[in-house]
């Protein structure tokens, strides 16, 4: 695991400013910790280390070890303890270092967090927030680079978020803390140093809707998380060719806002889904199927998908780039549906 060191600077709470994605998450964490005594952060190295991705830098000093709580390397139990603490009236935020490590906690996530409300006949709910880094692009090879958020989006009983912008990194975390059921936030690891505008006054974000990040009329690009930037880059280059691509950021992967997607497809009649996960059984497959089910007559071409190659993510830079979706592949897919 590597980390990035960075000064623990955070913008003043009320003014809009340019900050990084990690600073935006930190600002939301700070605001949540300061505003609600039930909120606490726990996970591996969230304390003196400042978080593997430097997100929680400075929070230990500000809020103390009870509320910024280092855990042993025991994913299943610290996620399960988050579930228990949520049942006991707290508002835990659990940081799992990366999505591949979260597999060690799948028992607690699927068998407990997602099912306790249903199994108890509605007596319980689990207001738990779990954050983790996802995705490739940093040459960390096949045990630190996967995009498995689509697996999580398969599970009824939880809400799955993938903030792709600085504002969403802040606002979606604050909104997650207001949810009565478990919320999983997948933060694409390449986004942490990304800079963008943050308006803290905007507060908690809407979690129910996808957002059109770029308007267009010729094709709809549907994506989320770390692939949003690639889709926007592809759309920019397509514009130079006279192709106006609309780009939709799904934001919430469960439940999906298909109304926004279908409204766009009704306009463009063409859809390309970009998803860093493997193609087979992917979220891209789900989006594609729903477009077909609900919008078959809107389509002038089959839905296209741009996904990762069906291979464990390799280490070497050129191989990893070849494995992951890239703007060139997105452009080619758009041309294919025009």
């Amino acid at each position: 695991m590597t980390t990035t060191t960075e000064k623990p600077s955070t913008p003043a709470a009320s003014r809009a400013a340019t900050v990084t994605y990690r600073e935006a998450i930190r600002a939301a964490l700070r605001e949540a910790l300061a505003g609600d005594p039930r909120v606490f952060l726990m996970g591996e190295d969230v304390g003196p280390y400042g978080g593997a991705f430097a997100v929680s830098m400075g929070l230990l000093e500000e809020f103390g070890p009870e509320r910024v709580r280092d855990t042993p390397l025991a994913e299943s139990t610290f996620v399960g303890a988050g579930i228990g603490a949520a049942l006991g009236g707290m508002r835990p935020i659990v940081e799992v270092m990366t999505i591949n490590f979260s597999l060690l906690a799948l028992d607690q996530i699927l068998n407990n967090a997602a099912t306790l409300r249903h199994m108890s006949g509605g007596q319980l709910n689990v207001p738990l927030v779990v954050r983790m880094a996802s995705g490739g692009g940093r040459q960390l090879a096949a045990q630190h680079s996967h995009s498995l958020e689509g697996w999580y989006a398969h599970i009824p009983g939880i809400r799955v978020l993938a903030p792709a912008t600085v504002q969403d990194a802040y606002g979606m975390l604050l909104a997650a803390l207001r949810e009565p059921d478990p919320v999983f936030l997948f933060e694409h690891a390449t986004l942490y140093p990304m800079e963008g505008e943050l308006d803290p006054a905007a507060g908690a974000a809407d979690l129910d809707h996808a957002i059109v990040r770029r308007e267009g009329t010729n094709a709809t690009l549907i994506t989320y998380g770390g692939s949003l930037g690639k889709a926007l880059a592809a759309a920019e280059r397509l514009a130079e060719e006279g192709v106006a691509a609309e780009v939709i950021d799904l934001r919430t992967l469960r439940p999906l806002d298909m109304d926004t997607v279908l409204a766009s497809v009704a306009k463009t009649h063409r859809a390309v889904v970009i998803d860093e996960a493997w193609r087979t059984g992917s979220l891209a497959a789900e989006v594609s199927a729903q477009i077909m089910e609900r919008g078959f007559d809107l389509l002038d071409a089959p839905v296209a998908r741009v996904c990762s190659a069906e291979v464990p993510i390799p280490y070497a830079k050129h191989l990893e780039e070849a494995a992951l979706p890239q703007p060139e592949g997105i452009i080619a897919a758009v041309r294919g549906v025009l």
Binding site: G80, G84, S120, P156, P180
Partner: protein
């Protein structure tokens, strides 16, 4: 194959034994025994389906340990939790109705035998992934600690769970954070059909617990008075700030693992050996020796238990099924629902 170890020698009857309390303990064990017997009966009639794990033989564990818990303490149990649920005070009727898939069931028919919940009684459920309840218990105790509540969380688990990673992780975390968890290790000698010595290298659980920095003790799980005394002592230690405690309860299930288990892995001799230490028969004998239980008393207690279980079955039979319209009702919480009050 090694035959499982016998329980420790009986610790003997307490010097002072209150007659009413003795009758209460016996009544509780009889309630569970008769309830479980009737469960097996209605299961064979097809009224209960799915998995059914009976507690027969282990009654002294649930009844004895429950005496150490207060109303505000939390309980996390396993898929073999009818005994704990009854001893905690969940009405027999709503437990039976749950297994019948009825809307009057404690989990409205969505959980079944393995997932009994009653939050008003702080009964946080039966967990059917072995060891899956331990981290949740650690978290409940963490919430109590962080909110300065003087409560404990009792976590029942079996000998099979002690081989799981979540057991190791939870022992460590509870000890590290000195959390008020009472770990109740129900050692009935078998993880489904695998005898403990065939699955675990270190059988001395007190030693293992101490390896994590957790104080521990072993008690004869067939002796309800010994269990009660040990559980009270353990709970007292935790309440006085001593951190987690592990109590090993050596017990035995007289029935197979579940109704689906042909029970081929144990000898009749072994089962008979343990039945000689039937916790109910043992307690009755002791009470009679001390002239604390007459035939009329016993008949009364048996009558109470039989009537309660019959009423539970009647209630379950008469209850409406959970409607199909409720299928998706409790997957997610309606957003306007007020926050739970722990």
């Amino acid at each position: 194959m090694e035959v499982m170890t016998s329980p420790p020698e009986a610790t003997g009857i307490a010097a002072e034994l209150d007659r009413d309390h003795a009758h209460f303990l016996l009544q509780e064990m009889l309630r569970i025994r008769r309830f479980e017997e009737r469960c097996a009966e209605v299961y064979s009639l097809g009224k209960i389906r799915g998995f059914l794990h009976l507690y027969i033989g282990e009654e002294a564990v649930a009844v004895g340990t429950m005496q150490a818990l207060q109303a505000e303490d939390a309980i996390v149990a396993t898929y073999r939790e009818h005994g704990q649920a009854l001893a905690r005070g969940i009405p027999a009727g709503v437990i039976m109705a749950e297994m019948y898939g009825k809307s009057t069931g404690c989990s409205r028919g969505h959980g079944g035998s393995m997932h009994l919940f009653d939050i008003a009684r702080r009964f946080y459920g039966g967990y059917a992934i072995v060891a899956g309840g331990l981290p949740v218990a650690v978290g409940l105790a963490l919430a109590d600690r962080m909110q300065n509540r003087a409560r404990i969380t009792a976590c029942y688990f079996g000998d099979g769970a002690a081989a799981e990673g979540e057991f190791h992780e939870s022992m460590n975390l509870a000890a590290l954070w000195k959390l008020p968890v009472l770990f109740l290790y129900e050692n009935n000698g078998y993880a489904m059909g695998t005898a403990l010595p065939r699955a675990q290298a270190q059988l001395d659980m007190v030693l293992r617990a101490r390896g994590y920095g957790i104080d521990a003790a072993t008690v004869d799980g067939m002796d309800v008075l010994a269990v009660e005394a040990a559980a009270r002592q353990a709970a007292e230690r935790i309440r006085s700030g001593g951190g987690p405690f592990l109590l090993e309860l050596r017990t035995y299930r007289f029935r197979a693992h579940s109704m689906a288990d042909p029970d081929r892995y144990r000898t009749k001799a072994e089962i008979e050996h343990w039945k000689e230490r039937d916790p109910i028969a043992l307690f009755i004998t002791r009470l009679r020796e001390r002239e604390l239980l007459s035939d009329a008393d016993l008949a009364q207690l048996e009558g109470n238990a039989a009537a309660e279980v019959q009423a539970a079955i009647d209630f379950a039979d008469a209850s409406p099924p959970e409607p199909v319209e409720a299928l998706l009702r409790d997957v997610c919480t309606p957003r306007e629902t007020p926050e739970p009050t722990p």
